[in-house]
């Protein structure tokens, strides 16, 4: 099974870097697992997300999100929930991850079969040049363990 772990976010925009940092930490703490999968990071992938997903059977995207939950909360959006998500027309010119996935799936059967899971880390400060907020900084360890658990589950499925 071809598994992709992708950290998304802008490194100079405060908590937006949460996804990049969580993937970096996971790589450091679980190098053995990281070697068995494809690991990528991207600052603003936009439609290039589709190219990154190409060839993967399953992907774990790690990104900062805004949500009605305390900063540092790690939220999992599973493949079925993400697939069911419909972007509203007002925002369809922006290229969020969900829109991009939907576009890819509409056009390419190969992408329709990639099981994509999103691990979202709730951020609060997305200002230019800001550092990670303490809440997000603290959440990185949990996020890294959640990545590990997701990958292990996929690898176990492969064996089973």
């Amino acid at each position: 099974m071809n598994i992709l772990v992708l950290g998304i976010g802008q490194s100079l925009r405060g908590d937006d870097a949460a996804g990049l940092e969580a993937v970096r930490l996971w790589r450091e703490t679980h190098p053995q697992t990281a070697r068995r999968v494809r690991v990528e990071t991207a600052e603003l992938p936009g439609l290039a997300l589709l190219d990154l997903l190409m060839g993967a059977d399953a992907a774990i995207l790690v990104d900062a999100v805004q949500a009605a939950a305390p900063a540092g909360t790690v939220i999992r959006v599973g493949p079925d929930e993400l697939a069911a998500f419909t972007p509203d027309a007002q925002s369809a010119h922006g290229w969020g991850v969900a829109e991009t996935l939907q576009l890819g799936r509409a056009l390419d059967p190969a992408l329709a079969h990639v099981r994509v899971t999103l691990l979202g880390i709730v951020g609060k400060d997305f200002g230019m040049g800001a550092a990670l907020s303490p809440e997000v900084q603290q959440a990185l360890a949990e996020a890294a363990e959640r990545i590990e658990a997701e990958v292990q589950e996929l690898l176990a499925g492969e064996r089973g």
Binding site: P45, D63, V65, I75, V77, F85, L107, G129
Partner: protein, 428 residues
Amino acid sequence: MKTIEVPALARVEGEGGLYIGVKDGKAVEIRLDIYEPPRFFEGFLVGRYLQEVPDITARICGICPVAYQMSSAYALEKALDVRVSPPVRALRRLLYCAEYIESHALHIYLLQAPDLLGVPSALDLAAVAPEVVKGALRMKKIGNEVLKAIGGRSVHPVNACVGGWYRWPDAAPLKALLPELEWGLEAAKECVKWSLTLPYPDLEIAYEFVALHHPDEYGVIEGEVWSSKGRKLPVAEFETGYIEEHVKHSNALHSHTVDGGHYLTGPLARLNLNHAQLMPAAQKALKDAKLKLPLKNPYKSLIARAIELVHFYEEAIALIKAYAPAGPAHAELTLKAGEGAGATEAPRGLLYHRYKIDEHGRVQFAKITPPTAQNLPRIEEDLFALAPKLMKMEQEAATLTAEHLVRAYDPCISCATHFLKLKIESRE
């Protein structure tokens, strides 16, 4: 789980706002407010070593990182009196071709075409015309592949530096892309034909066009800053002709010419001022299109982009065929205190940088004038011209029409952020 705002995914900063004030049925005030990151970066760069600048400024835009790398590299090379070798320069043009291919394919098909075809988004376009969108993604992907082959990765290429390249990219992966580029060239020719069939709204504006001009090639890197009003300035004197000013309603600076007029930079300006320097296939596409130049309809910048797509596929093919790296990949830098300006043509228009550095190569001052800041007052003026039409429309149609105009300019916000909030306020 229901509370998560998935479409936002943190990419919400920078919503554009458009405000139209109305009195006696006429628009009396128009304000377009766009968040703009370069202001932050100018401060962030101070104190950094010059070789960090191309990589840092590349992060300003996810769509045109190359433009920021190239303008900063040329400005800093000027400050150090460094000139790059011809092979270094040729590879810079190739990197830029890749960015144009990627950026224009995205804008033409996925950002502006939905407006012209009357569908709300690229997703809807994919539903009614999947082959068009598939073709667009394939065209765009070729740009990504070339960027990756030169720059190490496709989103923020990391190989460009002040003085040239950290290393020469291997020739084989680049040459392997030739068949796909040839396909892209044919697709781009078809794109021009298709672009001529689209229903552009009527709007002709007597613009002052401003673009980088080079006598021997389609102006992208180096050359003089030319205006359709006859002003010709070396890049080092750009700021004597074009002034940036702070305006109250926006945290983006607005530009005007030294005479006080607003000007247009971007594909229409380039095509109108530089069409004689297009490569042969692009020349032919332009001729066959039977267009009357100068093109003055902002919506038709899509046609200019399509013709440029032909040019940049064609140029990329020629550059890759000739690619045979020789000599050092970058010039040796001798540090000294100095100041330098550089300008290159980003896909969305002229991008000007100026830096002062100290004897250790640390940045003391940075100025970045992006194309969107230069076009902002022009967009507002166009909206004034459009306002009588907007007044007669329902809110939703008015918003879409205004959005389409703004989008036709391909401002940096059109892909990175969500879009306009239109507010029409009556003062009667």
